[in-house]
Symmetry: C2
Subunit: 80 residues, 2 copies
């Protein structure tokens, strides 16, 4: 719900017509949930603009020596 | 990697130009990972077509009495 609040707060700025949520790894689920909650429960006038999937290389975790690749998602919400 | 193999196998069918992955809840992360692995490691010629986010109401889990809503993602991969 923090993300939901963040999106709604972002749209409350003057002249803010677009908000993009970026997330990687397991947080992608949270980001999609936030998008769905915002547009179905709070701001029904929003539409989904571009959705982009990607990959990002992360430095090795402690105790490991190989970098890991995580997936990313970027979702843009648009106010008409 | 089962999903990766599933996508590659699906494309091996005759005249298969598009494969759509659907996932809900935590599995959305797995689906995005599979898309990224397929298109960066195995079938670099693929492009991402439509990505759709949605919500789906699920029957109550055992011991609960309220239906829960889960987010969904559908990603279409296209062979040029």
């Amino acid at each position: 719900m923090n993300y939901v609040l963040g999106v709604i707060t972002s749209f409350s700025g003057p002249n803010t017509k677009e908000v993009t949520l970026k997330a990687r790894g397991q947080a992608m689920t949270t980001a999609v949930d936030a998008v769905e909650i915002v547009r179905h429960r709070f701001m029904k006038e929003l539409s989904i603009g571009k959705i982009t999937l990607g990959s990002q290389e992360m430095p090795p975790r402690e105790g490991e020596n190989k970098p890991t690749t995580v997936s990313t998602i970027e979702t843009t919400l648009i106010l008409p």
